[in-house]
């Protein structure tokens, strides 16, 4: 794994470190919120290791803590995570083949997919994907455990503005790809559809609906030079 750090430039490495840190703080709040809502400590801790998908975990714990059925919570969570199919198709050459596909798939998050797609060549892409994936996995799980143990110390990450930091992180990561006109049009149409559908559809579906925006996408100039 040392080669990952040699391959990554200092700039991306620092950005990845920052996102890992921020994810750790959100993990802290996730652990604290879960335990604060009366769930035993093992629930957020186990979920974070075996599911490892922040938004869907918040949803799962929210439904269960509100007295909802764990089965309903599971279905909602899987729905929210369905976008990973498209991510997997886009970054499979970055993950690599053989045994790497198993940990590489488990480490797939919005953040490391966006980091990978933002790099220029395939070596940088691979390094960014794995470095961000491993870093976020470690920080997230440490954060969740610490937050769960600390209980109700940080339950309100909104006061720190972290709820605004996350969309901003993803926006900064996708902006370079949006300089391509056709990709931008597809993304704009898709986002509008997702926003309009949010009040009416269960969580997770509106974002998937955004794929309809691809009707406006034309493969001409490489939007993202997918290196082979």
């Amino acid at each position: 794994m040392r080669s990952i750090w040699r391959t990554l430039d200092r700039g991306p490495a620092r950005d990845i470190g920052l996102v890992c840190l921020a994810d750790g703080v959100v993990g802290l709040s996730y652990g604290a919120i879960s335990v604060g809502n009366g769930l035993p400590l093992w629930v957020p801790v186990v979920l974070s290791i075996v599911v490892f998908a922040g938004a869907s975990q918040f949803l799962f714990v929210g439904i269960v803590a509100a007295g909802g059925s764990p089965v309903a919570a599971m279905i909602a969570g899987v729905l929210v995570n369905s976008r990973h199919v498209a991510f997997g198709l886009a970054v499979s050459d970055v993950i690599g083949g053989g045994w790497r596909r198993v940990p590489g798939s488990h480490l797939m998050t919005d953040e490391n997919v966006a980091f990978a797609l933002g790099q220029d060549d395939v070596r940088q892409r691979r390094a960014a994907y794995w470095a961000a994936g491993i870093g976020i996995f470690v920080c997230w799980n440490v954060g969740v455990l610490a937050g769960g143990l600390a209980g109700t110390v940080i339950t309100d990450t909104d006061a720190l503005g972290l709820d605004a930091a996350f969309p901003a992180v993803l926006l900064a990561l996708v902006l370079p790809a949006l300089r391509d006109k056709s990709t931008r049009t597809a993304a704009l149409v898709g986002s509008m559809l997702a926003l309009a559908a949010t009040p009416f559809l269960p969580a997770g579906l509106p974002v998937l609906l955004a794929l309809v925006g691809l009707l406006f996408y034309r493969v001409e100039k490489p939007a993202l030079e997918m290196a082979r």
Binding site: R101, P167, T183, Y217
Partner: protein, 107 residues
């Protein structure tokens, strides 16, 4: 909520389901040769999903609108990113704007 076996089973299915979704892409791609144009299309699909995630996370809170502080923070971060400001500044400015507005009582 005290039904631990049911909770454990739901978590197990949740984990297996999520892993399967993540694994599906790489597994499919290893079996079929994907043409260059299709690869570009898949790359664009990932960007469209991420953009929609940004829009909904920035502007919506559950079923309704997210108030003012969060969209304002994301906007400040977005403008800075567009002007090619350092990533650290983008993140800190977005969080600080939202936190500052809330401190002033803006929802």
């Amino acid at each position: 909520m005290n039904n631990t076996p049911l909770l454990l089973a739901a978590i197990a299915v949740f984990a297996v389901g999520t892993f399967s979704l993540r694994f599906a892409g790489p597994a499919l791609r290893s079996r079929y040769e994907v043409p260059e144009r299709a690869q570009q299309f898949l790359g664009a699909a990932a960007i469209v999903l991420l953009a929609a995630l940004v829009a909904t996370a920035a502007l919506m809170d559950g079923d309704g609108p997210a108030g003012v502080a969060r969209p304002a923070g994301v906007l400040v971060g977005g403008v800075l990113a567009w002007r090619k400001a350092p990533f650290v500044l983008v993140v800190v400015a977005a969080a600080a704007t939202a936190a500052g507005l809330r401190l002033l009582g803006v929802p």
